[in-house]
């Protein structure tokens, strides 16, 4: 049986990818951030999942506004790296797992989550920056990846409650796949940040720390945070944190927090990282 053994919450700030790609990760601005991710990288190297389910959002790269899917599941065998406006990141293409993705679609739709099926898709920094943070710069990624793109760009994003329930349905779907696989699910984006308008640069560290505490000890409280609260208290782009609730929902009730890191800033973003193992 396939099992979701752990969840990783991490920001996916594009400037982090650019820092690695341009050889700046040892500079004083960036060094504390990358040092802070070393334990997570070591955990990943020990854990070696077969499959990563990457919950992230596309940033007007795979999807323009012709079609805006709320939940889009990547069912392709390979996902090329998008050119977001400065050339594609120099990272390996992402290998998918079409058979398992098709199974997830089937199970999730029957569980009343209307997934959009995506058979061709480029992936952007929302997916590749978490890969870089957890795996470094290998020639090929050491796992297959199933992308789950969530619309958090055009309001309203799905609610935290909806996301949490989707996570639970993903756990059920994975556990009904008859192959011994270790699966790690990522929830990415956030934490507090706003990158638009005169209010850009907003950071709310108490909000972020309470969110990390809640993931570990009281996810039901987080599920009740309304969209407007994310916007008001943690910045227009903090709504991305609902994606972390998909990850948390997929871990089952009991988790053990094995790592946490928090850092301000990466460009305009408060960066958070948490690793929760299912118990």
């Amino acid at each position: 049986m396939a099992r979701i053994i752990a969840g990783v919450g991490t920001s996916h700030t594009p400037a982090i990818g650019a820092a690695v790609d341009n050889g700046k990760s040892a500079e004083p601005y960036w060094a504390p951030l990358f040092q802070g991710y070393e334990p997570a990288k070591a955990w990943m190297a020990r854990t070696r999942p077969d499959v990563v389910i990457m919950v992230y959002n596309d940033h007007v790269n795979a999807f323009d506004f012709k079609i805006v899917p709320t939940f889009a599941l990547g069912c392709a065998s390979e996902f090329p790296i998008a050119d977001e406006g400065w050339g594609p990141r120099p990272v390996p293409p992402v290998q998918g797992y079409p058979q398992l993705a098709a199974h997830l679609v089937q199970s999730l739709v029957l569980d009343e989550f209307d997934m959009t099926i995506v058979n061709e898709m480029q992936v952007d920094h929302g997916l590749t920056v978490p890969m870089t943070l957890l795996y470094g710069t290998p020639h090929a990624w050491p796992c297959r990846v199933i992308p789950l793109a969530v619309n958090v760009i055009q309001y309203p994003a799905p609610t935290g409650h909806r996301c949490y329930m989707l996570g639970k349905a993903i756990r059920k779907a994975v556990e009904s796949w008859n192959e011994d696989l270790k699966v790690v699910i990522f929830g990415t984006g956030g934490m507090s940040h706003q990158i638009q308008g005169p209010r850009a640069g907003l950071v709310n560290t108490p909000f972020d720390k309470a969110f990390l505490d809640g993931l570990s000890r009281d996810p039901e409280r987080l599920v009740g945070i309304q969209p407007l609260e994310y916007l008001r208290d943690a910045g227009a782009e903090a709504i991305e944190l609902v994606m972390w609730l998909i990850m948390r929902g997929a871990l089952g009730e009991r988790v053990e927090e094995v790592h946490r890191f928090y850092h301000v800033p990466a460009s305009s973003t408060a960066v958070g990282n948490i690793i929760l193992e299912s118990r």
């Binding site: 007007v60 050119d83 977001e84 760009i153 638009q196 209010r199 640069g201 907003l202």
Partner: protein
Amino acid sequence: MTEVKQKEEAYEDIPGTWVFDAQRARQGYHLNEFLYSLMKAENRKAFLADEAEYTKRFRMTEAQRQGVLHRDWNRLLELGGVSYALAKLAFTDGKSYQYMASRMTGMTEKEYVEMMLKGGRSPDGWRSKSERQGRA
């Protein structure tokens, strides 16, 4: 219906922010399609070679077109541009998200970076327009 309307009005109460909701997305559709086109290197080249001519390929309003030509970032947000698409215009200019965000705040990039290094902008005084006015 009433509840939905109240929520839309509540978005408008957040100061210094243009929430990209369905109405703004509708208004900004052709602007964002123009910005999306800048994902391709040949389009970036064609745009930079003759900005006014290139923008005519898209059914933007004149106000949106002027916003593009003048890199009037906040005006473009107001007219339905979404920040991630606007970033493609900044990248085409060889600039970063951070540069674009700093311009939106009216700070220099250096001032903006310094604010971020000090922990960012506190939400205090920025949660609602009434709170903002109380501080001003």
